[in-house]
């Protein structure tokens, strides 16, 4: 049975209709707080089998043979499958199908799966794992950008010469640094980041008698999963039935196939039995997708008055063993490489490079949080050179509606970066920064740093970015929102309940939500790209408006009224205001067929009408037309004896258009900032010669409650985004981009030499204090 979460049922005694703009509690708050919300990882159907992949452990080589006989004899082992057992193409990948479900021949990273074990219990898997011998011929690999791009380097994929997966440019105008009064230049490096979600990659699958492959899986893209599984395993995609319960975190790491094809393969070999796959934390670190490491070189020039003039940026993204969304990550980074600024001349070059390391994939603010470090560090370097205030320099160059951005796109949508920056200018944390700096305790120095950031929303040019929403009234007169875009914790399903409640004028008790199910909902794209609430929300508005008008019409029939005048929806009923007569929704429902009680609505996100001739080598995803903006301030304290950095205060002003729910808005910003502080100061996924050194939370450190400051989120007065639901636009990603540059700039303000490499570890900070 698909699971349902109720709206705030039993939580709020209030029967007042839900209203857009109010800080209503999340629809899933109670279930999650009580531990009742079902996650894919929690499902243990009866008669369950377990499946686990055996991974190569070798970063580069050729698979010769697997010694499986001994393992197959172990009691409890049901099957051990290899590439020969994969019925379809044995290839997966969102756009670029280059990743085998099970390796046939070439091993490209240490997590490449070579066999799939299916067993009655964990002990059998454990024993079998220890007695399988992998015969493989190791070969020299390329483990970082330099090795991968060296002459005659071994190739990760034979069809990718120079290990170059993608190469592209954006050119707007013609950079001329001789025309600039001040030019700054620098190299920057950002690390591989892991998503670190609580619920690792997980799912259960069962091949039913009618041939349906049914799967409940922790996924950000249930509808696309059908295509992935169908392509990889050679079964018709309509036979694949996916249900995506709430996710215990996703952040992009569950966009694209993780367990899906392996699970499907296992289920195909054990008809009628449920098979479960749940990655251990160590497996998730090795085999899960990661944020791309990036190396950047920037040259930025401005006129004497501080107006930006020319930029030359070069970006190298390490995409690891397989393509996943590597080129798209790089392209989005390139589109943002010039920052949220007016700059007439920009040449940005991007390179997406394969290495024999775990695969780079989608992660919150993909491509963009890398370049944010570079362009916002450059802005402070420029301010220092020009002896200008870093805030005023940003305000002078900030994008407004009607400007063309660094990628040459005319901004016709809401653009309120200046309001965010002005919010910082007027805030006490900014105004009192010098006094605060002077009050540093012994062995401490203090500094304040800024970052202005942006992040595109939606898939971008060339990809249809659409959603189909479904609302249903049941026979009792209650409403069910059929969500089709996964809720990974960001709260979109709560927003959908609020939207439906607002339009249908119903209280939380009257609404429930069904999480994505490919048999009862409709393709609406992935939960990603800051598009989730925006696109599906817009579709849901039209579905709800249609249902509202049907209810009014039906009530009018029952009440013998000649038209809709004076008829209004109220909690539980439709009332005729002039006469005071009303019909309950339950009564109405009893007159209506199922067909009439269900409404669909669809929405297609706007695309750029005049695509500028600035990009070369882009496949899809360029350009974007809607951006969220933010201005961040970080106050940091450095211990001069150890170099340890503590963020003392953090302020984030975010332009997300109109705010549907202020508390969920703040939660998104605070979560993004926390993850961004992790990216800035703590998180570093390390491989050595292709072998993962950070396989658990003891070695891969994420910030804890004692490491994070109170994060103040403010929504300044901004323009509404006319194209979005009730004027909103997505803000799930933009907050991720601020912390690293804001903290780096704060460290410089405190008196450290500029730091160009993240994460910023105590050792580097201590070094930056020497011989100051």
């Amino acid at each position: 049975m698909p699971t349902q979460i109720s709206g705030n049922a039993t939580e709020s005694p209030s029967r007042s209709p839900m209203t857009i703009g109010l800080p209503l509690p999340r629809g899933d708050a109670r279930a999650k707080a009580c531990g009742r919300e079902p996650y894919a990882a929690d499902l243990f159907p009866e008669n369950l089998l377990l499946a686990q992949a055996l991974r190569s452990g070798l970063p580069c080589g050729r698979l010769l043979e697997l010694d499986l006989e001994e393992a197959r004899q172990i009691p409890g082992i049901v099957a051990i499958l290899t590439a020969k057992d994969v019925p379809g193409s044995n290839r997966q990948g969102i756009i670029h199908k280059d990743m085998p479900v099970l390796v046939e021949d070439r091993i490209r990273y240490c997590g490449d799966p070579v066999a799939l074990l299916i067993a009655e219990n964990k002990e059998a898997i454990r024993s079998a794992m220890s007695c399988i011998r992998i015969h493989a011929e190791p070969s020299p690999g390329v483990f970082d950008l330099d090795e991968a791009m060296a002459e005659n380097a071994p190739l990760v994929h034979e069809d990718k010469p120079g290990n170059m997966l993608a190469k592209a440019t954006i050119q707007k105008g013609k950079p001329d640094f001789d025309a600039c009064a001040a030019v700054v230049e620098g190299w920057f490096e950002t690390p591989v980041q892991a998503h670190g979600f609580l619920e690792t990659e997980a799912g259960t699958a069962c091949l039913l008698e009618d041939g349906t492959l049914r799967m409940e899986v922790s996924t950000q893209s249930p509808f696309r999963d059908r295509l992935e599984i169908s392509h990889a395993l050679g079964i018709p995609f309509m036979q694949v039935h996916i249900h995506a319960p709430s996710l215990g975190g996703g952040f992009g790491g569950k966009d694209g196939a993780t367990v899906q094809c392996l699970l499907g393969l296992a289920a195909l070999h054990c008809p009628g039995r449920s098979v479960k796959m749940l990655w251990e934390r160590e497996e998730s670190f090795v085999a899960g997708y990661k944020r791309h490491a990036c190396r950047m070189h920037y040259r930025l020039g401005a006129l004497a008055d501080g107006s930006l003039h020319s930029l030359h940026a070069r970006l190298w993204y390490d995409t690891g063993a397989y393509a996943h969304l590597g080129p798209e990550v790089m392209e989005l980074g390139m589109e943002h490489a010039a920052g949220p600024y007016r700059i007439p001349h920009n040449l940005t070059e991007g390179f997406c490079v394969h290495t024999h390391t775990p695969t780079g994939g989608a992660m919150r603010a993909f491509g963009v949080c890398q370049v944010s470090f570079a362009f916002e560090s450059m802005m402070d370097m420029l301010a220092e050179k020009l002896k200008q205030d870093p805030l005023e320099l940003r305000l002078r160059n900030a994008l407004h509606r009607g400007d063309t951005n660094g990628a040459g796109v005319l901004l016709e949508s809401s653009t309120s970066l200046a309001a965010c920056l002005e919010g910082i200018r007027n805030h006490p944390l900014w105004q009192t920064r010098r006094q605060w700096q002077k009050e540093a305790p012994p062995f401490c120095i203090r500094g304040t740093g800024l970052a202005a950031v942006f992040n595109a929303a939606g898939y971008g040019g060339g990809v249809r970015d659409a959603a189909i929403a479904k609302i249903e009234m049941d026979v009792k007169g209650h409403f069910i929102v059929h969500n089709a875009v996964t809720d990974m914790g960001q709260g979109n399903s709560s927003a959908f309940l609020q939207i439906a409640g607002h339009i249908l004028r119903q209280s939380a008790e009257a609404l429930s939500l069904r999480q994505p199910d490919t048999r009862s909902a409709y393709p609406s794209g992935s939960s990603s790209a800051g598009r989730t609430t925006y696109t599906f929300g817009k579709a849901l508005i039209s579905a709800c408006e249609e249902l509202a008008s049907r209810l009014i019409n039906r009530a009018g029939l029952i009440l013998f009224l000649q038209n809709d005048e004076g008829l209004v929806l109220e909690p539980g009923r439709v009332r005729h205001e002039p006469s005071g007569r009303s019909v309950s929704l339950e009564q109405l429902a009893s007159f209506m067929s199922l067909e009439e009680r269900v409404c669909l609505g669809q929405f297609i996100a706007p695309v750029c009408r005049e695509v500028p001739d600035t990009s070369r080598g882009f496949f899809i995803g360029f350009p974007h037309v809607i951006f969220g903006y933010g201005a961040h301030l970080a106050r940091v304290e450095v211990d001069t004896l150890t170099g340890r950095v503590q963020v003392k205060d953090y302020l984030a002003l975010t332009d997300g258009g109109a705010v549907l729910n202020p508390s969920m808005f703040d939660q998104q910003v605070q979560g993004g900032v926390a993850q961004g502080i992790g990216y800035a100061l703590y998180e570093d996924f390390i491989t050595e010669k292709g072998v993962v050194k950070t396989k658990d939370f003891t070695t891969y450190l994420m910030p804890g409650s004692l490491d994070l400051p109170d994060i103040l989120s403010l929504a300044p007065p901004v323009e509404e985004e006319e194209s979005g639901p009730f004027g909103m636009k997505g803000i799930g990603e933009v907050a991720m981009n601020g912390p690293l540059p804001a903290i780096a700039n704060a460290l410089r303000d405190a008196g450290c030499r500029r730091i160009h490499k993240a994460p910023i570890m105590a050792e580097a900070v201590l070094g930056s204090l020497e011989n100051r």
């Binding site: 454990r126 794992m129 220890s130 012994p442 062995f443 004896l641 150890t642 170099g643 340890r644 503590q646 703590y682 390390i686 050194k693 950070t694 003891t698 070695t699 450190l701 910030p703 804890g704 409650s705 004692l706 490491d707 570890m761 105590a762 050792e763 201590l766």
Partner: protein
């Protein structure tokens, strides 16, 4: 399935040890269970110590504080006797992991794991703690130097158990200072730590004991660094001199948490923090 046993008395415990010589002792299990999870092979029998009489209390016996080896770090860090007399140990115990972990992990476990990064070890060295070991032959006590023989190694013989930790109350309430440097504020393994036990009389250092954790195979001491502080006020110059010797004494390695070079630098620079005690009165309190 191997048994998990819970003795209540020494007699029961010794008979279980006899019956299962390959058994492992488990107190809080926060190190042991993690280590066992990594192994692919069958688990050994476990003898849990949480119900043992005489291993879970903190007592004063004459001029000693006696701590049962199965006391949790939370109990050690918050007990009135340790708080009054052994603040150095409390600070060390309180810096291990996070609250949930300190409610499980024990002082005995921290000793027996004998990690170079064990957060209570520098304090126990400076406080001249004496581990008391129990076996069928009876009790014996050792010095910390004798008990910890190397990284992850102790003087425990097969079938022998760490029973209690006996710590003499330091006379005249000296300054007791502990600082741990980790890569985050909690749930972090020490990159380096410094414990200091310093007595001042009339503004001059009359006793100085220093110990560093996580910068060598065992806790590091430096008699030269200690001597550099003696008979002088706590000032930058003498602390710098001590730092010079500290750099020579430590033997750090580079690992995923930090480089040897950083550990060396920090071992020395952490001494500077002691200047905050320069005006301490004879009771060891900062004024």
């Amino acid at each position: 399935m191997n048994p998990v046993l819970f003795p209540r008395t020494e007699e029961m415990l010794l008979s279980m040890v006899k019956a299962y010589p390959e058994a492992r002792f488990m107190a809080g299990g926060t190190d042991l269970l993690v280590a066992l999870r990594q192994k692919q092979k069958a688990l050994p029998p476990l003898i849990g110590l949480e119900r043992m009489e005489g291993m879970g209390d903190i007592l004063r016996e004459g001029d000693e504080i006696s701590i049962g080896a199965a006391c949790t770090l939370k109990e050690v860090a918050s007990h009135p006797l340790t708080r009054q007399h052994l603040p150095l140990l409390c600070q060390g115990a309180d810096s291990v992991g996070g609250p949930a972990l300190r409610n499980m992990a024990t002082l005995g476990g921290n000793l027996c794991t004998a990690s170079p990064a064990g957060d209570t070890l520098p304090a126990l060295f400076l406080l001249e703690a004496r581990p008391e070991l129990l076996s069928e032959k009876g009790l014996r006590t050792l010095s910390m130097e004798a008990f910890i023989t190397g990284p992850g190694r102790t003087a425990l013989l097969p079938g022998e158990l760490l029973h209690r930790i006996r710590i003499p109350i330091p006379p005249n309430a000296p300054i007791q200072h502990f600082e741990k440097v980790g890569n985050r504020n909690a749930m972090a393994i020490a990159v380096a730590s410094l414990a200091a036990l310093i007595r001042m009389e009339q503004g001059l250092v009359t006793q100085a004991r220093l110990a560093w954790g996580s910068v060598g195979p065992k806790v590091i001491r430096s008699s030269e660094a200690e001597a550099a502080l003696m008979g002088k006020p706590l000032r930058e110059e003498s602390l710098k001199e001590a730092a010079f010797y500290a750099q020579k004494a430590v033997q750090p390695i580079s690992d995923i948490r930090a480089s040897a070079d950083y550990r060396k630098k920090v071992s020395a620079s952490l001494l500077q923090r002691l200047i905050l005690y320069r005006d301490s009165d004879d009771k060891g309190e900062r004024s």
